[in-house]
């Protein structure tokens, strides 16, 4: 591809060096930001999400699948009036995962803003 630089190491003049695989392996491979109506505001490497009910994103589906189902998901959920919301995930497959947003009481809850990202190896 045009504009390609092949390098195994990046070196700063004073701060030292870093292997480029730190960048390749450490970068998020997919991410998204959606609101409480499950409208996607922005994303990368996502083909769709599925609203599965209150507090449930039944499926977040990748365009470029992951290589295995051992990848890591992290997320943030919040409301404008309070910070009551956290993610828990279920059902990780190479092509999709599901997520739940719960309050501190454990109840499922729609959040005004939900952000999720996936780190791992691509297929």
């Amino acid at each position: 591809m045009a504009g390609t630089i092949a390098a195994d190491t990046l070196t700063h003049s004073t701060a030292g060096s870093i292997a480029t695989n730190y960048v390749v392996e450490g970068s998020a491979k997919a991410w998204l930001n959606h609101n409480n109506a499950h409208t996607l505001l922005d994303s990368f490497n996502i083909s769709s999400i599925t609203d599965g009910g209150t507090g449930i994103t039944n499926s977040v589906t990748f365009t470029n699948a992951m290589n295995n189902d051992d990848y890591a998901i992290s997320g943030f959920a919040g409301n404008t009036t309070n910070d009551d919301g956290f993610f828990c995930g279920t059902g990780i497959a190479t092509t999709n995962f599901s997520a739940r947003i719960r309050t501190h009481n454990g109840n499922l809850n729609d959040a005004n803003i939900s952000c999720l990202m996936a780190h791992g190896d691509l297929a």
Partner: protein
């Protein structure tokens, strides 16, 4: 903007190009489906950047590639993909209309058990609609079902 010749280019690299060069397309289409009698209706929401890729053409692999990967993953003892190259080396599909993109997405992201026989039985298991046709608030969200009025 012309899509570069991406044949053989890693799909992730194609998505990077698309993110940098294409305007997102926020579709008003939604796909409502039911895959369990014990659960409320689910609503598939297309991604805005994916829709831009689909309508641009030359970026996404044919949908059968995803079916092949799903077959591999359903095998007992599956640990990792060995045919991921299908995503990258299969010739990308051409530009789609928004409606064609939704059809592709249904076949990619909704369980086959739903879309293969969506209109068999007493009532449809799947409906394509506009966002504006859904309830405008999420009140009683966990009780939403496809209307019986749509029964054949």
């Amino acid at each position: 903007m012309q899509t570069p010749d991406f044949k053989g280019t890693h799909l992730f690299d194609r998505l990077c190009w698309a993110k940098e060069n294409l305007e997102p397309v926020q579709s008003d289409y939604r796909v409502v489906y039911e895959d369990s009698i014990d659960e409320c209706a689910k609503i598939l929401v297309p991604d805005l950047n994916w829709m831009a890729c689909a309508m641009q053409g030359g970026i996404l692999p044919p949908v059968w590639v995803y079916w092949e990967l799903a077959k591999d993953e359903s095998q007992p003892g599956f640990t990792k993909h060995t045919r991921g190259h299908l995503l990258h080396e299969t010739e990308p599909v051409g530009p789609m209309t928004e409606e064609e993109a939704i059809e592709y997405l249904i076949q990619k992201d909704i369980p086959q058990s739903v879309w293969q026989n969506w209109d068999e039985g007493n009532r449809p298991k799947m409906v394509i609609c506009r966002k504006q046709q859904l309830p405008q608030t999420r009140e009683w969200r966990n009780a939403w079902r496809i209307s019986d009025e749509l029964a054949a």
